[in-house]
Amino acid sequence: MAIKVRKPGLSTSIQDLGRPGYFHLGIPEGGAMDRAALRVANMLVGNDEGAAGLEAVFMGPELEFQEDTWVAVTGATMPILLDGEPREGWTSFPVRKGQVLSFGFLKEGARIYIAIAGGIDTPAHLGSRSTYVIGALGGLDGRPLAADDILPLGKAGDAAARQVDQALLPAASQPVELRVLPGLYWHRITEASQERFFDEEWTVAPEADRMGYRFRGGSPMEFVPREQPFGAGSDPSNIVDGCYSYGSIQVPGGTEPIVLHRDAVSGGGYFTIGAVISADMDLIGQLQPNTRVRFVKVDMETALAARKERRARLQTIRDALAAT
């Protein structure tokens, strides 16, 4: 028993929490861009938090259910329709065989997560069902969903009517603040340029995707002059190849910062000025093009405290849902 894809949306893909452990071989972790939203969607329908669901960016898919089941939609705010009747987000609801789930226009955020009781049961590759499109790995033949695809479902667990208290969800500020820990090549730009990076407002470029989020609107970086080392390209933003981390910020040509996200490459020849802290990476997965953003400088202590706080918030949701 399964789900039939009637319309795929813009780019809807099967995602779980990813495949850690292969980044050194050039295979990114992948998985949901907003990990907390996928976890909560799974909790709502009684799945393991790492079960595979659907990530749909900017536009929802249209899905026909071939069996009775439970569904929850989290993440971005987008009208949810079951046979044309509205359903609430962050809430599990029953779906009967033959019913059709569809979506209205995106209102806030960028990506919705659709969890179905039992999870999507496509074969795991390197320990994950996540779709890595550039590498044609995972998901359904390593590609986004297409019309007429059939998505197999796993065995449902403890599905029931559950709802997340909206007060437990983080509210995004305007402009969105992304906390940054300066990194390895921070010294390559001048002090004035370092200050400008944090003082100026940036906006999300339309090219932003699962590999990286590009930002524009701020001043070009001003480099500390040096003779380029052997093996580095001639542009001052080039280095002798280095490793990139999830969240690291590269600035090709010193113009537009790119925050590397779930499907990013693991290394290359651009300097990285630092990294967005892990606690704020889910937030990036919900940014629409042209959203205003500020980068905020933090130290390691603040980054670790933010991660702890984020985990505690998720635990509160987990506890609240377990009690229902």
Binding site: L10, S11, V57, F58, F105, K107, Q288
Partner: protein, 77 residues
């Protein structure tokens, strides 16, 4: 007057390329399957279909301007 709305956020274009004529001009007939513009996002151009019939009244969203999902792109009478 029915509106054609953007199905997604991105950058709206009136023509298939900078050198081309716009997809529609005021007074042109519109059929549901006609493309009236493109929205660019994530390095992809998505054709916006009219989905209604009538006469093209004009673009509301500017060429190469950012749009949000649900924004009115053009009017048809």
């Amino acid at each position: 007057m029915p509106d054609i709305q953007s199905p997604l956020p991105g950058t709206f274009y009136h023509a298939p390329s900078p050198e081309s004529e716009p997809f529609k001009k005021a007074g042109d007939a519109v059929a549901p399957e006609d493309t009236i513009g493109l929205v660019e996002v994530m390095k992809t151009f998505i054709e916006v279909k009219a989905e209604i019939s009538g006469t093209f009244d004009g673009f509301v969203a500017g060429n190469a301007e950012p749009v949000q999902a649900g924004d009115v792109l053009a009017k048809v009478t």
